[in-house]
Amino acid sequence: MIYLDYSATTPVALEVLDTMTRTTKEFIGNANSLNGLGIKSKELLNSAIKQIAELFSVLESELTFTSSSTESNNMALIGVAMAMFKKGKHIIVSKLEHPSIYAICDYLTSIGFEINYVNNNEEGLIDFDHLKSLIRPDTILVSICAVNSEMGIRQPLKMIRQIIKKENPMTQFHSDMTQGIGKMALSLHDVDLASISSHKIYGPKGIALLYKSSMVNIKPLIYGSGKSNDLKPGTPALPLIVGFSKALRLALDDLEKKEKYISLLNERICKKVNSIEGVLINKTKYSIPHILNLSLMNIKPETFIHAMDNEGIYISTNTACSSGDLSSAVMAVYNDLTRATHTIRISISSQTTTEEITRFIEAFEKNYQTLNSLVAKE
């Protein structure tokens, strides 16, 4: 099997799995219980949270665990909207967001919020002038992802934050960092709120977190027992949280070294497919090497994916979360409908071997030729 869909999800690292098994077996107490077992669980929970807080240089109280980045995005956008609607109902998002952001925006529109979509330039970078012009006195939130999930375009969050705060210091800045964490150095101090997921960094599925600066107030989405400022009441998912914490520590190690290696693999594929007619590489100078997006102009991407499946090679159409639709990122950058509806995504990890890339390229060329010749005959 050759797995090249790491941006959809990653396999759990064995040492993380070991941590989770041991935590599940040895820490059976509810971290909210007052008894000895509960206290033991609570101590482990606190250590796990502290480790994450230290990795990001933030306060422990600024971290809330959720079930997925989608939930974190909901908590951030709806939470800010509900806390600040008296000050304004205007929200700005980019055209390069994860589909969950757009779904939340649709909901917020239905209850009276106004959403604007900020343009990007031909390299995929946020159009700073346009962003500046969109920000109004009643703009309560801007949400822009750190790395786009389809083309891997990276945004300069620090600069974006400066622009936002200069125009309106009251406007909060959220970033979905799901595709960026563990791939490059990101600072939570560049944003007010951030979504981060565990299963993209070799941690378990079902656990993610929302970073919320202590300076920001949001309304909780759910209510339960616990402290009044608790955004996610309920029994903490200890094995998942501990596993997440460990996965994060491992993922943030040697980022540069890993990125260099992945760049080499990315370059190798690009070099090969660049010469194939009908294949376009959707990549700008802001794309990170972990994500490689191609448009197969003459072939239905889904057919190609299944052909590759048959050889035990797993890649995806634009993103796992929006299969079948057009790639909004490719559309936003190239404004070409055929190109945007014919995309496949190859995502590479530092675990990927050069041997795997060689085999991928062979299979790619073979399947492409077969399918392309069929299309030509029609």
Binding site: I39, S47, V242, R249
Partner: protein, 394 residues
């Protein structure tokens, strides 16, 4: 060029007789802080210089040491020719942003030709000729350039960061801090440490009436104090039996008065035992029933050892501000009850009478219980860095 950390002393420069003792202690304290960083320290009566490869990390660590007025990053050069010095100063400042500057020269090497003032003027003139649009002013210059010509090296540095002030820890001896889980006592401890007192701490544990989390909280607070104090020895007294005897035998409006007297006596006995000269606590005038002046008088009467109350004249909000600055506030407000807040009567006496106190105290053989409690105390050595027992899981 090598980077160094330059430490300027605080108040201790006024201690003319035993300055060497103060400096030696400061050096030891800095050394203890830099245990994980390879370094070498040289000092004289004017300043201390730390030679290390990791100046940034060292600077952060040294910031928590008391007895320091100012900490600067300095640049060390071997070139002791005047021309070389000028050129090196220029190199250090050419990319800095400032409009006005002045040069302050100090010659530890008295054989270096010229007077310090002349050298400053010479360097200043050279800089003016190479920099555009800069002016020299002698008061409130944007940039003060210090040039120190030493026997084997030249140091160039600028105004640095303010240190914490105070005296080097342990120069004034040892004190025993009555540490509860509240907001006040850690701040009191911090302020005592600041004045050069090395502290050990005593905590009254009352299981099962108090939660193990309350003890954990006190350990966490002691750990924060260990940043400034060095390792904190925490003496955990099992107070259950004494507290239960008080509740069973003594009318409840005198309960707090008697309980505090017992705590004072245990603290004083332990303090003499560990060679501490004073007791420190977080009492603040008028805050609770046991802290009215009359209560303090009657409670204090139980012992002869001096009790220092660093926050006794502070308002609660002032104490909270300090607690936030030190970093103990977040821990202090965790909701675990300690032995002072359980069994609190609705209307404790605020004007206790000593005669009545004596009478009540004679009802129980507290002496034996107190000796027992001290003998059976648990000692926890608390280091600045928590040993993470879950490291293998994380």
């Amino acid at each position: 060029m090598e980077k160094v950390v330059i430490i300027k002393y605080g108040e201790l420069s006024t201690k003319s007789d035993n300055i060497n003792f103060f400096l030696k202690t400061l050096k030891n304290n800095v050394e203890a802080k830099l245990k994980e960083i390879s370094h070498e320290i040289k000092y004289d009566r004017g300043r201390m210089i730390v030679y290390t490869n990791d100046t940034e990390k060292a600077l952060v660590k040294i910031k928590d040491v008391f007895g320091i007025h100012e900490i600067c990053i300095g640049y060390k050069y071997q070139d002791k020719t005047l021309e070389g010095i000028k050129e090196n100063v220029y190199k250090q400042i050419k990319d800095l942003s400032f409009n006005t500057f002045k040069v302050v020269t100090k010659r530890s090497d008295k054989n270096f030709p010229g007077k310090s003032m002349e050298i400053s003027a010479d360097i200043g003139g050279y800089l003016l000729s190479r920099l555009e649009g800069k002016k020299v002013i002698l008061h409130d210059a944007d940039l003060t350039i210090h040039v120190e010509i030493r026997i084997n090296e030249v140091l160039i540095y600028f105004d640095g960061e303010k240190g914490l002030g105070g005296y080097p820890v342990s120069t004034l001896g040892k004190g025993l801090l009555m540490l509860s889980g509240g907001i006040d006592s850690p701040v009191a401890g911090y302020l005592a440490i600041k004045r050069g007192v090395r502290i050990e701490a005593i905590y009254f544990d009352s299981p099962p009436h108090t939660s193990p989390m309350a003890l954990k909280k006190v350990e966490d607070l002691a750990r924060i104090l260990a940043r400034y104090n060095g390792e904190v020895k925490l003496h955990v007294i099992n107070f259950t039996k004494i507290q239960e005897e008080i509740i069973k035998n003594i009318p409840n409006f005198y309960l707090i008065t008697i309980m505090r007297r017992m705590m004072y006596q245990i603290s004083a006995l332990l303090a003499s035992n560990i060679n501490a000269h004073i007791i420190i606590n977080g009492e603040s005038i008028g805050q609770v029933a046991s802290q009215t002046l009359k209560s303090m008088q009657v409670i204090n009467e139980a012992i002869k050892m001096p009790v220092i109350r660093p926050v006794c004249t502070y308002d609660k909000l002032e104490i909270i501000d300090l607690a936030k600055k030190i970093g103990t506030y977040e821990t202090s407000i965790e909701p675990y009850e300690d032995c002072c807040t359980i069994f609190v009567p609705d209307h404790p006496v605020i004007h206790p009478d000593l005669k009545i106190v004596y009478e009540y105290e004679s009802l129980v053989d507290f002496k034996t219980l107190m000796f027992e409690a001290i003998k059976n105390r648990k000692i926890i050595r608390i280091k600045e860095k928590e040993e993470n027992v879950y490291e293998d899981l994380l």
